[in-house]
């Protein structure tokens, strides 16, 4: 579904992502983990087209999509959420999700200005769909609320609803549980599993290890911009290099000796 080949990104002299390659299979939940500054969000921005890579290739659904803009990737079925919210704070929750339906909306100028009935009809359908999506992420109480008046946890879910509105084939979630309490995290956990069960492939960047280990079919570990390891939750958890990256070398040696 998505494959990344020797992807590189440099900012000035800083190598944020170094020769990272991986592939993602359809219908699974994949996670990218790594310590702070490991290059996870940069990798997301490269895959999603917000950054142009310094080298390497990204292919999506069998096509080379390297260097395409985010809106072009969205049209091909890629959606994402953001670690530091990118909500339309000048709109209501409902309108935020309705914007998510943009690709399926009629955006011809003249019919829009002349208020053709077909535009209004399309908008009613979009509105109904948006209400449904808000229900799916558990935001029924916030449908008509201004986004600016919503609490952080609700905004996180609002972004997921907006991303789902485009009916993506691949959904990139950048730290959906960051800043949430344990109850909210469990809700996000269940939501991600529901989304995946509905046939959407999920790529997750997350710090909450419980969440990652719970939901992921496969985990990719980044450290200092390089891929350190890849495998199932079990495999990654036992990998001495991963333990070293997270807990320091001494702990890794300790863990290694206990295994021996």
């Amino acid at each position: 579904m998505l494959s990344v080949d020797r992807l590189r990104k440099e900012f000035g002299g800083v190598q944020a992502v170094v020769e990272v390659s991986f592939a993602i299979e359809a219908g699974r939940i994949h996670s990218i983990i790594g310590p702070n500054g490991a290059g996870k969000t940069t990798l997301f921005n490269l895959v999603n087209g917000l950054y142009a890579p310094s080298g390497g290739r990204v292919s999506f659904l069998g096509c080379d999509v390297t260097g395409l803009r985010p809106y072009e990737l969205a049209a091909r079925g890629m959606a994402r959420t953001f670690q530091n919210l990118q909500v339309f704070f000048n709109m209501s929750a409902l309108e935020n999700v309705m914007v998510g339906c943009h690709l399926k909306s009629d955006t011809r100028l003249l019919p829009s200005m002349l208020g053709w009935p077909s535009i209004a009809r399309g908008d009613r359908a979009t509105r109904a769909r948006a209400v449904e999506l808000l229900h799916e992420v558990g935001l029924d109480a916030w449908v008509d609320a201004d986004a600016a008046a919503m609490p952080y946890g609700a905004l996180k879910r609002l972004e997921i609803a907006r991303a789902l509105a485009a009916e993506p084939k691949l959904l990139l979630l950048d730290e959906p549980a960051a800043g949430l309490n344990p109850t909210e995290t469990r809700e996000i956990d269940r939501l991600i599993q529901r989304v995946a069960a509905a046939g959407v492939t999920v790529l997750l960047v997350e710090h909450d290890m419980r969440l990652v280990m719970d939901v992921s079919d496969r985990i990719i570990v980044l450290n200092f911009g390089r891929k350190l390891a890849e495998g199932t939750a079990q495999e990654v958890r036992r990998n001495p290099e991963v333990i070293a990256a997270y807990l320091g070398t001494a702990a890794a040696q300790g863990a290694g000796s206990r295994h021996a």
């Binding site: 809106y71 994402r80 339309f88 000048n90 309108e95 943009h102 100028l109 208020g115 509105r127």
Partner: protein, 316 residues
């Protein structure tokens, strides 16, 4: 439900505006007042269009008087020098401005914030310089006379006739804008304002929609310019000047950004106010400044949205 409330606000607002336009002549004692009312209407049309760009799409333009001037001069030159029928000149002016805005928009709207302000400022100034310099065509700084507007042999003359024409045009502009704002295109505009990054990731071609907002707002200005030329019977480069651009932006901000009716209110107040403030004689500009500063401090979101919020609080 909010949906129905919105529809009512939309048609209700249109009806209220129509009512004001219909009843206002009862309070206009002589032709001078009609002239001021016509100018209010023309400025309001420009501001309703400009608000799509500034208030909704979140892009600044300090050069829209250039488009107003181009519309005015297209009508003036094409009818006076080439003998075109006035309606055709108006359409040609609007089309020409649309094309020009389309060509300019892509490079200019790559810029953001202050840089975009500078670029549009430069654009407006260049247009005004061209109008000033093309003396054989435009009469240069002295301006040029414009023939009256004839429609199917019917000549539209007199301030009262123009009042109804401009009133109708304003209603049409407001209706078109309201439709646009409540459509997916309008939501895409607001999304640009809210978060460009998020807009891109949900599939909005941000460059395309910025250009669209720019072109539409330029056409509103051009049509108002054409109407102005025929109404005034004389155009000068002052109409395309930098200061006019600033006036338009001030009206939009004063009335309330991202509010179609706010733009109308802003244009009405700031066009009529200087006429009223002439009572202060030498201190007129100081009084105007005080009113502007006071309003923006007391009603930071602009007149209409702030007043609306205030009434909602009283009702509760």
């Amino acid at each position: 439900m909010r949906l129905r409330g919105l529809m009512q606000a939309r048609t209700g607002g249109l009806l209220a505006l129509a009512l004001v336009i219909a009843v206002l002549p009862l309070a206009l004692p002589n032709n001078f007042y009609y002239q001021v009312a016509v100018l209010v209407g023309l400025n309001a049309i420009v501001c309703v269009g400009l608000n799509l760009l500034i208030g909704y799409a979140g892009q600044i333009s300090l050069g829209h008087a250039g488009f107003f001037g181009l519309g005015a001069y297209a009508s003036a030159v094409l009818t006076a020098k080439f003998g075109w029928p006035a309606p055709l000149a108006l359409v040609a002016g609007a089309t020409g401005v649309a094309l020009l805005a389309f060509v300019l928009a892509r490079p200019i709207l790559r810029l953001k914030g202050h840089y975009l302000a500078m670029a549009t400022l430069g654009m407006g100034i260049i247009i005004s310089i061209v109008i000033n310099q093309e003396i054989p065509l435009t009469g240069g700084p002295d301006g040029m006379p414009v023939p009256g507007f004839a429609l199917f042999g019917l000549r539209l003359t007199g301030d009262r006739t123009w009042y109804w024409i401009v009133g109708g045009l304003l209603l049409l502009s407001v209706w078109l804008s309201l439709n646009l704002i409540e459509s997916p295109v309008g939501r895409a505009f607001r999304a640009l304002h809210g978060s460009e990054v998020a807009a891109e990731t949900v599939g909005i071609d941000t460059a395309r929609f910025k250009v669209l907002a720019f072109v539409v707002s330029a056409v509103f200005a051009a049509v108002a310019g054409s109407a102005f030329a025929h109404f005034a019977g004389f155009v000068t480069p002052v109409e395309a000047q930098f200061l006019r651009s600033i006036e338009f932006v001030t009206m939009v901000v004063f009335g309330g950004m991202a509010s179609v009716f706010g733009a109308v209110v802003g244009a009405a107040v700031l066009t009529a106010l200087p006429q009223i403030l002439t009572a202060f004689h030498d201190y007129e500009m100081i009084a105007l400044g005080v009113v502007l500063i006071g309003t923006m401090i007391l009603m930071p979101r602009g007149m209409l949205p702030s007043l609306a919020a205030l009434t909602r609080r009283w009702m509760r």
